[in-house]
Point group: C2
């Protein structure tokens, strides 16, 4: 503990101000409880600045029922086998609650000393990922408060000596800490770079002087309260989405590509089955090879109602080992999913190394049904294109192979299939009033699909548009395309 | 593949019957979709009996959207650091869906060859856990279909040779398989023991002859369909719970213990704070020691409304590192939680090795509020006592220290606190109409609390009844009791 010191806050002043801070923090939690956003408090800083103390103090001052603290030790194997940000996505508090992050997602990025061009490039990538992660959360309404606890080099030495002198705290000082002290200047430059790269409008860094522990604690509380009050005023409620009155393409190239797709492929029935079995065998082998190489695969199936997504997925799962794959049907989000940013429900199911996830409909719902039905506000679905690209980029950077299909049929073909479903006993459950409603919006959907294709077409996760009026053709196409993309991905890395 | 063989099913007959089986299985999934139970299909059996083939065949025949397959390889570190059944609890399908378990939770139990008395005791414990796990799920309505694929020793050899001969399947036969073949008789005896011990009324084993792969596949489908049809008839809907008309104690000893608790402890103010700080320091040290020894701690806080659970938890969290602990407030279950057995929501939060979870209210809600408000049916809350004991036993067997508190206040003291909350601005959010409603049922609650104490008092997870009219007394008591129980637990193991 701090000694009596003219520059330091006296115990008496401190205690009086702590009482106020505590009351204000708990009042904040009461207000937050029904608010449509979470609060994320990152406590990072130089060694010996008291990150752990601040985390514990915040926990002591807050009502523990509404707050959860996360410290990121070595990643577990389940975490290592997934993209870097997965471990942070899984720790997001639901709306109305607080997450405190000891070290944040920032400390890990500082662990290595990047020197070689390759290291520096990786460091940049890591920082870019962090910035995008925070952008995405703040765009969704999250309040992110990032505290950087600062000590001068002299201050750090004084603090380490102080801790060592007291037998109750001496255990907290390790050889590592002194090593980091000797390395103070380099680490300071590295953290400066990190803070600059992750200084976002919605998630600024608050540098807090940690020389006096009491003043430090109060300043942290003060920053939290000030940021919360400003945020709460503007984010108390979520604006309702308005239905779009008309749908204009954002970028016409996608729509043109969609409309020019020839739909009526013929396929010679003779020899079809042998051909299909040959490709299924090939798919089986290549998926096994990928699995042995610890590569994961994510399949995305999108397409018109009745375009044959289910059937195509069945053919695919016929060829791969069910023990290494999961099919995730995307329907209405659960209430846990609704109280998180919308990509959270897809991050949940990202496969471990060597496994596959098949999404039967996917995150693209955001820019299709949610755009057209007004479930998402315009600003939400508009920024979704780049959020999605970033999500897929993170998967691919980690080594996941992302295969995206759009199954395309003509409006007439859909009608034929709807009628057939209505007339066939065991298919009737597959069609309902909503399907007919969606069908009436065919043109609006075409526009949205076109925009999706144009704006989420990337080198690392390209769209495959599959003509699907002929089921045999489309299924074979899907198997072949999957083989080719997996093969190319395996060659590229090796 | 099987050769033409008079004893084997011809390809033609097979294909005709497959079409029927597939249609029936998909019809089953349609019925299941809105049913209040899940279906668990375990596929286990001797080596080379085609477990993987059966799993893949079921996946091919079923609609992949309603089914998920789990294979249990080596436990991940997140799994190893928790009680043995945690990894199976986390893979339970929600109601209305199917989980297929390659090897089930049974194969792991067979991995070792138990010879020493100690091994045999562990084997028995593992089997008992499995049986209780299944009992709990079936009691909750789950349909569990356990398939054991059988091959004679000759049949196994023939099958292995057949696989080796074909270049497409030769890779599937390893030296391990031949070793297991030489060990056939011992393994057969071991599996017999396992099957006998886990042969439960609601979850019987179906031994299926695996000599002919086609007949085997059809028989599996047939067992699944037959079991489902019988189950669906009786479990289509969940009976509604009726409110209990009167509350009679199940075992009066608990109520007597509760009512004889002296509530008005005096505590000498002089020296109180030093005493408290001494114990807080001690708690801090002992929790750190436990964490270093990779022991986890589970605290359970139960008590009357306004008995001071929140305050007591705050004192506790003051003394322990927030980075190693989480407070889980138990309120209304989410919809994901509602579509699983009720202990699922508590299993979710079981701490990793060296971490602590503090449950602010807990699974005991089942035998308190759910019993009295009729949220649970009588048979449900009655069996909860033993389910809870089993849950806590599994925690303790894994090395978790389970500390349970009941905070007890008098009816008058509660009234005083309710009024104080209503009159104090920053406490008003803590009291609502429900609190007053619960208060009117004081006597009924006393009975339920008494039964809870009597029926879930175990040697491994004892109840601590804390007189809580005096807050200082109760908080100190909680700290002291926690220290003592953790200390005793650490000594016992070492």
């Amino acid at each position: 503990m701090a000694k009596a010191n003219p520059e330091r806050l006296s115990k008496k002043t401190y205690e009086a101000r702590v009482a106020d801070a505590r009351a204000a923090l708990v009042h904040m939690q009461v207000q937050l409880k029904n608010a449509p956003f979470p609060v994320l408090i990152v406590v990072a800083g130089v060694d010996a600045s008291g990150k752990g103390e601040v985390v514990n103090t915040l926990n002591a001052w807050l009502d523990p029922r509404g707050v959860e603290t996360f410290a990121f030790h070595e990643p577990t194997d389940e975490e290592r086998e997934r993209p870097a940000m997965w471990r942070f996505w899984r720790c997001l508090p639901p709306y109305g609650r607080i997450g405190i992050y000891a070290g944040g997602w920032h400390t890990e990025a500082l662990r290595e000393d990047p020197r070689s061009p390759r290291d520096l490039a990786e460091f940049d990538t890591a920082l870019r990922r962090i910035a995008r992660f925070e952008d995405q959360l703040t765009a969704d309404g999250a309040l992110i408060i990032k505290i950087w606890l600062h000590l001068t080099k002299d201050g750090q030495r004084a603090r380490l000596q102080e801790l060592e002198k007291d037998e109750r705290t001496a255990w907290r000082v390790s050889a590592e800490d002194w090593k980091s002290h000797r390395d103070y200047d380099r680490l300071a430059r590295l953290s400066d770079t990190m803070r600059r790269a992750t200084q976002r409008p919605g998630a600024p860094w608050h540098v807090v002087d940690a020389a006096d522990p009491r003043a430090r604690n109060l300043e942290v509380a003060d920053r939290v309260l000030t940021r919360f009050r400003a945020h709460f005023r503007t984010h108390k409620t979520r604006p309702a989405a308005a239905k779009p009155r008309r749908t204009t393409p954002l970028r016409a190239a996608g729509l043109r590509r969609l409309l020019s797709l020839p739909l009526d492929q013929h396929i010679v029935p003779k020899g079809y089955e042998e051909k299909r079995d040959k490709w299924l065998g090939k798919l089986n082998r290549i998926v096994r090879t990928a699995s042995q190489a610890r590569r994961s695969i994510v399949w995305v199936f999108e397409g018109w109602d009745a375009s044959g997504k289910g059937g195509a997925i069945r053919r695919l799962t016929d060829a791969i080992d069910a023990r290494d794959s999961r099919v995730i049907p995307i329907a209405k989000p659960t209430d846990e999913e609704k109280s998180h940013p919308y990509l959270w429900r897809f991050w949940r199911h990202v496969p471990r190394a060597g496994m596959a996830t098949i999404y039967d409909r996917s995150w693209y719902g955001r820019v299709l049904v949610e755009r057209l039905e007004g479930f998402a506000r315009e600003e939400e679905w508009r920024r979704a294109y780049s959020e999605i690209n970033e999500f897929e980029r993170e998967l691919v950077e980690h080594g996941v192979i992302v295969i995206k299909f759009w199954l395309h049929i003509s409006k007439d073909e859909q009608l034929r299939r709807f009628r057939n479903r209505e007339e066939t006993d065991y298919k009737r459950h597959k069609i309902n009033a909503e399907d007919w409603r969606n069908r009436r919006k065919w043109t609006a959907y075409e526009t949205a699909i076109g925009d999706m294709i144009a704006l989420t077409q990337t080198r690392f996760a390209p769209w495959h548009l599959i003509p699907a009026n002929n089921k045999r053709f489309s299924r074979l196409e899907i198997i072949k395309t999957s083989c080719k993309q997996i093969e190319a991905a395996l060659e590229e890395k090796s």
